[in-house]
Symmetry: C2
């Protein structure tokens, strides 16, 4: 059912298609983050309108509430949330490391306290595979250990090696489900595939080792984890680029947790095919809006009587209908609609950027697009 088709390249940039059990995703792709089964402030039809072809769900959150078993009884995550298009789920590891209380990690997995009610839970490589099988996402991720930045070479090496052992266990469990244990587990998507994750921090030899181990196990796609965690931006680009280079050219490459619009363009140039990030949605709720001429902060007094659209070059409902003056008023008045209108714009900007990237690769003009995009996007506003 699943396949990745590479349609064209332009320099390092790749144009492709992910064929999944719930439809096709054009790559390079950006995945809006739907943590709790909802991309914050967006209805599903708003997502479709903004151009989203795939969204991300967070295993940690959905496992805790409403529970993966409940979702499986509803027929899986797609049916539960009313989103018939592709979904990728993370493994929950990142949230255990960043959000949960009093966690204890050992070779078996992680024990932690829920951030909701303090209750104690255990996740293992195998159980995160089972949970994602019940959620029935189209792409499931392996459990990996997430290190804080900076970490020493030794810490990073040990952690990367543990992640590789976990990846092997995740793949074994995934294979068992595919080969017959699915009913017993309550799997809801027979077409689900699994991506491995390359770790190794900012040490390229460790990245190479990790990539070797993970591709040796073999997955339908490969993610680069442990970036966008505070390292300098040039280092992130360098690691993403060098790591992408050692990944199989015929599989999709997913850079987890990135990034700004400039990051997307730069990392497409490095050969990345998939991205996810909370930036467009979270910033929208805080009044920071992305435009073709840089970022603006709608709270700023200079917009009080500005009758123009957020971005005159944008065709989203918000830009077609409302002025900066009105959006500033809604934000300052604490109206929920500020969040919904701003999010629709920011996601449209991100997904429109991806469309322009794909078009530029098709036309073999990606490098020119990139230079022009970075010039205008880096007019980083008088507001910030």
């Amino acid at each position: 059912m699943f396949s990745f088709r590479l349609l064209a390249t332009d320099g390092g940039a790749r144009l492709g298609e992910l064929h999944t059990a719930h439809g096709v995703v054009q790559t390079p792709a950006f995945m809006p983050v739907g943590t709790q089964g909802s991309v914050k402030a967006m209805r599903q039809r708003d997502l479709e309108e903004s151009g989203a072809q795939i969204i991300l769900g967070n295993t940690y959150h959905l496992y805790l509430r409403p529970g993966d078993q409940l979702i499986a009884r509803r027929g899986g995550l797609h049916r539960f949330i009313g989103w018939p298009h592709p979904i990728l789920t993370d493994s929950g590891g990142y949230q255990v490391f960043s959000l949960a209380g009093r966690r204890r990690i050992d070779e078996q997995g992680a024990e932690f306290r829920s951030h909701l009610d303090g209750s104690v839970h255990r996740l293992s490589p195998e159980s995160t595979v089972d949970i994602q099988a019940r959620l029935g996402s189209d792409i499931a991720m392996v459990l990996d250990e997430c290190l804080a930045y900076p970490a020493t070479r030794d810490e990073t090496a040990q952690s990367m090696e543990r992640s590789a052992r976990w990846a092997a266990r995740c793949r074994a469990r995934f294979a068992a489900i595919r080969d017959g244990a699915g009913n017993e587990v309550g799997a809801t998507n027979a077409g689900q595939v699994q991506f491995g994750i390359v770790q190794g921090g900012v040490f390229q030899d460790l990245r190479d080792q990790s990539a070797g181990a993970v591709t040796e196990i073999g997955f339908e796609g490969y993610a680069i984890g442990g970036l966008s965690v505070g390292e300098p931006i040039d280092l992130m680009y360098a690691v993403a680029s060098d790591t992408a280079r050692v990944l199989p050219p015929d599989g999709p490459r997913y850079l987890m947790g990135a990034g700004t619009p400039e990051d997307l363009v730069e990392c497409v140039a490095c050969g990345i095919d998939m991205f996810d990030c909370v930036l467009p949605t979270r910033n929208a709720r805080n009044g920071q809006l992305f435009t073709s001429e840089g970022r603006i902060n709608i709270k700023n007094a200079r917009y009080a009587e500005d009758d123009g659209a957020i971005d005159p070059a944008c065709g989203c409902y918000t830009c077609r209908t409302h002025s900066r003056a009105y959006l500033r008023h809604l934000y300052l008045a604490g109206e929920m609609t500020a969040g919904t209108l701003n999010t629709l714009h920011n996601l449209t900007f991100y997904l429109d950027t991806m469309r322009r990237i794909r078009e530029a690769i098709t036309l073999r003009t990606f490098d020119k697009f990139r230079q022009e995009f970075l010039r205008s996007a880096s007019r980083l506003s008088l507001d910030s």
Copy 2:
């Protein structure tokens, strides 16, 4: 420009059309409340989709933030908020009496402190007319004094008489603006009309006196104020009915601040043409949903695994797309989208009820509709 056309009657119920400077409103009509220039959790296109033909704006809130002068410089409220359809504005009086701090009322008007920042403001009958002229609503309301319930007959009589004197001053100021002072004031809607308000509490002789005084002044329409403030429901129906009876049959009648779906049906039977209430929007954000079989509270554990729509008889986006189980999850997870989906449903239910009422009057089956509606709506749910 403005006219009210009575098209049919069925018992006390009236079918009509309000022709305003921004289009036609079919009556009986329900007006969603857009306090701060936004019906909470709704985009303007959601309002159109739900069947709203006119919305209400709150003068008190808009005067304080972003300011009526700023809105006038943007071309008026319609343009500022991107709503090209009819708007009614209240006078701000009710909010001064219920929301503002440390108020002092005398014959001249009200002095009060802003609930936002404690700053001191004054509103007079004349200034509320000027503010609404700048907002440019299609229907402006006179300033009236709003008494708490219960009040003695003496208090009610004195207050009603002051409201009548204020109504005369409001009308004089309105006429001055219409006859030439508009430019100086910064009026933004030459087609604006003004409604008077009948007070008198629950004392029918005072209501009759008030109606006499207000119709003597003469307005394009008449509102019944000072109800839905805590009096017994049967008393409200009786006062609304007896007051409607003494109002001019050729003008629209607006019952301010009501009510539940049953209130709408009952008061249409009394000859009321227009309603506004925060109930559908506020309750939606609190998880209380109106359905054709009574109210449900989506928080209730019984909906945790309920795959049905909120109301199988409803055709709104929420009911077409999502289950009670998902909506309960969104609510408990604190997702903003719970508010937007629930509000879209509740407003659709209200506006659909108004459409069914109008249809029943057209078919001369209103009394039958009313009996059936009250029987199903009063199945007041195991949830409440």
